[in-house]
Amino acid sequence: MKKILIVEDDFLLSMINTKYIEMLGYKVVACVTNGLDAIEAVKEHSPDIVIMDVRIDGGMNGIEAMEEISKFSSTAVIYLTGNSEKELKERAAKTNMLAFCVKPVHFEELSKILKNEK
């Protein structure tokens, strides 16, 4: 069973995503709200995929957190973001990115991405 880490600062959204991902048959190893916790969670749980909100609590955004994570882990990432600005996309593409999804993300879309990863 693949392990998923959810990084999302909106509690309700985090819960919804967790429920859906678990329904699809993945294991959500942790839900965190900021970049530093995400780095720690990756170190601790070594997830296969991180579902990362771009705009999160704390000093760093989702892409910056993934840049840090990339230094010690090859875990893949699916970005969820409020806007699809070109600069953000380009920067995100330099990390081990599976997809760059604009909120609200349809579950079918998320499901397809995760299945393709299998």
């Binding site: 959204l13 919804i16 409020g82 806007n83 349809h106």
Partner: protein
């Protein structure tokens, strides 16, 4: 500032030209007496005329005709020296007055008026040489004056010409110091203005700094609001989707999916407005293409082709929202109803702009419907299409026949 100094200086100059004319008139008075005593009646008249001409120059100056005044002074001085040199002889020293010619010229004209100065000086020099040559050629017929009178005249000419020179020199000395004072004053004013400018610049910099800080705050606020709105829409959409997973009824599931799609089209519109350079309008072509992509994703029938031909059109927020939802309903309706009995199908969308209105044309080659019957039993989708058309203040026309697809046309003003 320089012009102001020149104007002030010109006023002072005219004032002194007048004083010069009065002084000349006063200095000419003793000559009148001597000429009269020596019974040179015509020359006395000439001297009276000369005095009159100098006073006329003053009159012209006071009537704002300084150029005429200056011309008259040049003529009178030349005429007076020539006439009395020829009358009284070269050795009477009348020509000594010509040595003050450069000073008189500089009194009359500023240095910047070079042509006037050169012309005037040439006149005086020519005059002097004419008198000198006439004298050399012994053409001067001296008036018959006593030796004492002759000596007196020489003394008067010598001392008066020196008096004239000195008074002009004193004027220039005063004038120069006045000029320097004026320049100093101008310099002080300029420095004060420069200081004021610097203060204003500092104020402007501070204002700009405050403005850019406010702008940054607003941008952050806008970004935060956008983030929250998108998250809230994502929560609503997510909750609907979670509920949909547990719904077994096909109709209920479809209704939930449609609701989710409506939320997604609003969220997409929100995103496009946020990304737009102009926050109150969006370029609709990109939006429509992305909307089509999203709707396609939510249906399993992949054999429906959507042909969109959208002009480069900017729509405002009030126009874009009903327009996007209307398009969402039209496409969803086609997917839901038009191609039930067909494996393949086409949807054609054109959106164009004419001089004063937008034209949306939407058609599909699906099963079509009986318009009369459908309008009687309006579905939510049809109701929404009608409501959005009204919101756009547009004129909507449906045409459809069973088996021949539908054609929807909407015209609305800019």
């Amino acid at each position: 500032m320089g012009k102001a100094i020149l104007i002030k200086n010109e006023k002072e100059r005219i004032k002194f030209i007048n004083q010069f004319c009065y002084l000349t008139a006063v200095l000419a008075s003793p000559y009148l007496y001597i000429l009269y005593l020596n019974k040179l009646i015509f020359s006395t008249g000439v001297m009276l005329l000369i005095i009159f001409l100098f006073l006329t120059s003053v009159y012209l100056n006071k009537n704002n005709k300084p150029n005429f005044s200056k011309a008259l002074i040049i003529f009178t001085t030349n005429f007076a020296v020539t006439y009395f040199s020829l009358l009284l002889g070269f050795d009477s020293g009348v020509h000594l007055f010509l040595f003050s010619a450069p000073l008189i010229t500089y009194l009359l004209f500023d240095f910047i008026k070079k042509t006037n100065i050169i012309f005037t000086m040439l006149l005086y020099v020519l005059n002097f040489f004419t008198i000198y040559i006439i004298n050399k050629m012994h053409l001067i017929v001296n008036a018959q004056l006593e030796n004492n009178t002759h000596q007196l005249l020489y003394f008067m000419n010598f001392s008066f010409s020196i008096t004239l020179c000195f008074s002009l020199i004193i004027y220039f000395a005063n004038n120069n110091s006045m000029y320097i004072n004026l320049l100093k004053e101008a310099n002080i004013t300029l420095e004060a203005q420069q200081m004021q400018m610097q203060i204003k610049n500092i104020e402007n910099t501070e204002t700009n700094k405050k403005l850019s800080e406010t702008l940054k705050e607003k941008e952050t606020l806008l970004s935060e609001i956008h983030h929250r709105v998108k998250n809230n829409l994502a929560v609503i959409s997510g909750l609907i989707e979670l509920q949909n997973i547990h719904v077994t009824d096909e109709l209920a599931s479809r209704i939930l999916k449609e609701s989710r799609n409506r939320i997604k089209s609003i969220a997409l519109l929100h995103e496009k407005f946020y990304e737009s350079k102009n926050i109150d309008s969006i370029e609709i072509r990109t939006y429509v293409n992305e909307l089509i992509h999203l709707i396609k994703l939510s249906f399993t029938n992949n054999n429906i082709k959507i042909h969109a031909q959208i002009d480069t059109i900017e729509l405002s927020m009030t126009e874009a929202l009903p327009f996007s939802l209307l398009l969402n309903e039209l496409i969803t309706n086609s997917y839901k109803h038009a191609f039930k009995q067909k494996k393949e199908g086409n949807i054609y969308i054109t959106f164009t702009k004419t001089n004063n209105e937008y034209v949306l044309n939407y058609k599909d080659d699906g099963s079509g419907f009986d318009t009369k019957a459908s309008f009687k039993e309006k579905s939510l989708g049809m109701n929404l299409i009608e409501a959005f058309s009204k919101q756009l203040k547009g004129k909507a026309i449906w045409t459809s026949e069973i088996g021949k697809g539908i054609n929807f046309n909407l015209n609305f003003k800019h």
